[in-house]
Amino acid sequence: MERRHFLQAGGLTLSAATIALLGGKEALASKLKANEKGDVAILNIALALENEAIAAYQLGAESKLLNADILKTAVLFQSHHKEHSDALAATIKKLGGTPVVAKTLAEYAKDLNAATLKNQEDILILAAKHEKGAANAYLGVIPSFTDKEIAKVGARIAADEVMHWTILATVLKQELPAHSLFFGA
């Protein structure tokens, strides 16, 4: 999806948020300090995580194991991860860094042990596990960002991952968390 389409969506998407975040802050790129290099390094890990999520949903979509409704939702969630990926890559470039390159789908399939996925439930369980892991990863790195605006975008992405997990857990009929502060624990 083109970045301009996100902008047309009325500033609700993360690409738009990030562009707004960095818009007019050209000095940010030219004054890349050591602590901002740290932000770039962390953002690149987040980008790698998003690239893996895009691939995971692609593997699920191509598996022919998902029913039509689940497939539609999986493709929607994948589009969210693509938007996260675009936003992160744009931010990394804006800060003067180089976005990490995604692996091949075959490499992701090996990393995720995709050959063991035999039915829709297997795929949903893997997706739920990774969405929860991603939410926790973002929550864990937010305190490390030196730029509070980047930290805020990280929190918004984490909220998306929680939304994905909640829907997947509901479809899987998993019990709701018994206690608050479930994520990041």
Partner: protein, 120 residues
Amino acid sequence: MRLTSIALLIILKGVFALGKPPGDPIRGQQLYESRCTGCHSVETNRAGPKHFGIFGRKAGQLSDYEYSKALKSAGFKWTENTLERWLKNPTIFVPNSKMGFSVPEQKDRLDIIAYLKTLK
């Protein structure tokens, strides 16, 4: 009985010598599953490097994972001490490394480290 007492004394001496309680690898595995598996796996490199065999390995040296320059040149081995410093605040311990995820509670760190030690 006497042997048991001696063994207990040795264990306690070790604990107090370190100044830290021993980590619980079972709780550590639960914490690992919850907090680390967004980016890491035991057996495969993902956004972060695999953890199998991490304890005692030189930092930043797996040939099939692209580490930050900072960690690649850090020159230390993963021990209880370095892992704890790393998990407490990786960006302070090794500035410009990739991992920004920290584990603020010492008990959690020690349990995760105890689990990481079992990955061999």
